[in-house]
């Protein structure tokens, strides 16, 4: 029995201190203001303090910690991307994740499950091989596997997909693919940043950004104005709201992404299973629930409403793949917001506006990048220069028509 638990048992009162303070009021000035108290913003705050000694930092969250994409995604972590730029970036993130529970002294339930991307056609198998080869070239565990391997690893899968659609002819298999307890990632970074002196202000909404001669001079909030020369926008699905405040044009459009969770079941599904052509991804949480999602909603919307269409489609596709789940009950459906880019790669780093830094374009793949975004964006703020890992993702790439083609031959992310 870990000593931590004994400690709880033997103390009469509850021994745990607050994980993060609730500062009474905003200071007049900060060295940096981070908009967004999700995983990315909190990780950036943590690394600003830890790596660069910049602690006079305020994280402004209009709602509650991890209430956006961090708390709404399906917590899949992987690095089997298509472009070398993407693979290197996400691999650095996976490596940070693997040691993050220790680093933050919080059990994030980082659980390596193995990640299948199913191929239902020779064309999609080609794309999977493309990914596998790029991955292997960069030292990532990733390979194309045949139907037999899939069946052996996940016996419940019906490779014929019900018989009315193209059968499964193989998959990209990525053993390090993992899931984690997403909320805890935000809490852990919040505690870490808080202990290093960062101020976290929840229920504090940014209402404007003050520019002087085209440079950031401060931030207006519903709790008053604060001076600062550096602002990081780390609000994913709410980015267009922030960029509109300073007239910064980007390719970002917001789409909802929906997910659902079933009643808890005894463990049976150990892998993460993704099927692009069925618009489906599913894993089983450590609580036993099946957590499943689909591809983006088909039109722009900055609202987190649910649709029945989604639940019907996903229910159908789950049964196409796992016919034995007919009796399994869906508890709850919900939605999050995805800030999509044309090339399915993020938009990170410096912008034409001095002092305004952006961490956006997280679409459906933001959670897995949390640690590396924190590290690289902190570096970028500290040095006012893009960290080399994120240089390819600078907003300026569109002006140069130098896209980072994660879309490949077009397939869904997650």
């Amino acid at each position: 029995m870990p000593h931590r638990l004994l400690k709880f048992a033997l103390r009469k009162d509850h021994p745990e201190p607050r994980m993060f303070r609730a500062p009474a009021r905003l200071e007049d000035e900060y060295d940096a203001v981070i908009i967004g108290g999700g995983g990315h913003g909190l990780a950036a705050a943590y690394h600003l303090a830890k790596d660069h000694g910049i602690t006079n930092v305020a994280v402004l969250e209009k709602g509650y910690l991890g209430g956006g994409g961090t708390g709404r995604n399906t917590a899949i972590i992987r690095s089997n991307y298509l472009t070398p730029e993407g693979v290197n970036f996400y691999q650095a993130s996976v490596e940070l994740f693997q040691d993050l529970s220790r680093e933050l002294d919080l059990n994030l339930f980082y659980s390596e499950r193995g990640h299948f991307t199913l191929a239902h056609s020779p064309a999609s198998l080609r794309t999977q091989r493309w990914r596998a080869e790029v991955n292997k070239h960069l030292g990532i565990e990733s390979e194309v596997v045949g139907p037999e391997f899939i069946q052996k690893t996940v016996p419940e899968i019906d490779l014929r997909v019900g018989g009315h659609q193209a059968p499964i002819c193989g998959a990209l298999y990525h053993p390090p693919g993992a899931i984690a307890r997403h909320d805890a990632v935000a809490w852990g970074y919040a505690r870490g940043a808080d202990r290093k002196g960062v101020e976290i202000h929840q229920q504090t909404a940014v209402t404007g950004i003050e520019l002087r001669d085209g440079e950031v001079a401060g931030v207006h909030t519903d709790k008053g104005f604060v001076k600062t020369r550096k602002v990081l926008s780390a609000v994913a699905g709410w980015t267009t709201h922030i960029t509109a405040m300073i007239g910064l044009r980007t390719p970002l459009v917001i789409h909802p992404l929906q997910a659902l969770v079933t009643e808890p079941l005894k463990p049976w599904l150990n892998s993460i299973v993704v099927s692009a052509s069925l618009h489906l991804y599913v894993s089983q949480s450590s609580r036993g629930e099946l957590v499943a999602g689909a591809s983006l909603d088909p039109y722009e919307l900055i609202s987190m409403r649910s649709t029945l269409d989604f639940a019907e489609q996903l229910g159908g596709h789950l049964l196409d793949l796992f016919p034995c789940l007919g009796d399994v009950k869906v508890l709850r459906q919900w939605a999050g917001l995805c800030d999509m880019t044309p090339d399915f790669s993020p938009i990170m780093g410096t912008t034409p506006i001095k002092g305004f830094y952006i961490d956006a374009g997280w679409g459906t793949w933001g959670f897995k990048a949390t640690p590396i975004c924190g590290k690289t964006m902190a570096y970028t703020l500290a040095h006012d220069r893009d960290h080399e890992l994120i240089a390819p993702f600078n907003l300026s790439r569109f002006g140069r028509f130098e896209l980072v083609g994660e879309k490949g031959a077009a397939s869904v992310g997650h």
Partner: protein, 88 residues
């Protein structure tokens, strides 16, 4: 499921429609600078608010324009391309 009022086919469920993205005006390719052209090709007005968008009723192949609030998903009005110009 949303109901969308197609100017030709009347009120229909969302599943009969396809979203066509924001209504954009192309700058004169000859006159536009590279930067202006890239802005036209890639950048979008993605911020919250009422937008003019293309929608297509698939079964009948009818393209039309909708004014929609992308926060509430409320369709304020729909009209055929060109018809909307007169009144703004």
């Amino acid at each position: 499921m949303k109901i969308i009022h197609c100017p030709i086919n009347g009120p229909r469920p969302l599943q009969e429609f396809r979203f066509g993205g924001e209504l954009r005006t192309m700058p004169d390719p000859a006159a536009a600078s590279d930067a202006e052209w890239a802005d036209y090709v890639f950048n979008r007005r993605g911020e919250p608010g009422v937008k003019r968008e293309w929608w297509c009723h698939v079964p009948s192949g009818t393209w039309f324009i909708a004014e929609r609030d992308n926060r509430t998903d409320e369709f304020l009005r729909t009209f055929l391309h060109g018809a909307g110009r007169a009144d703004g």
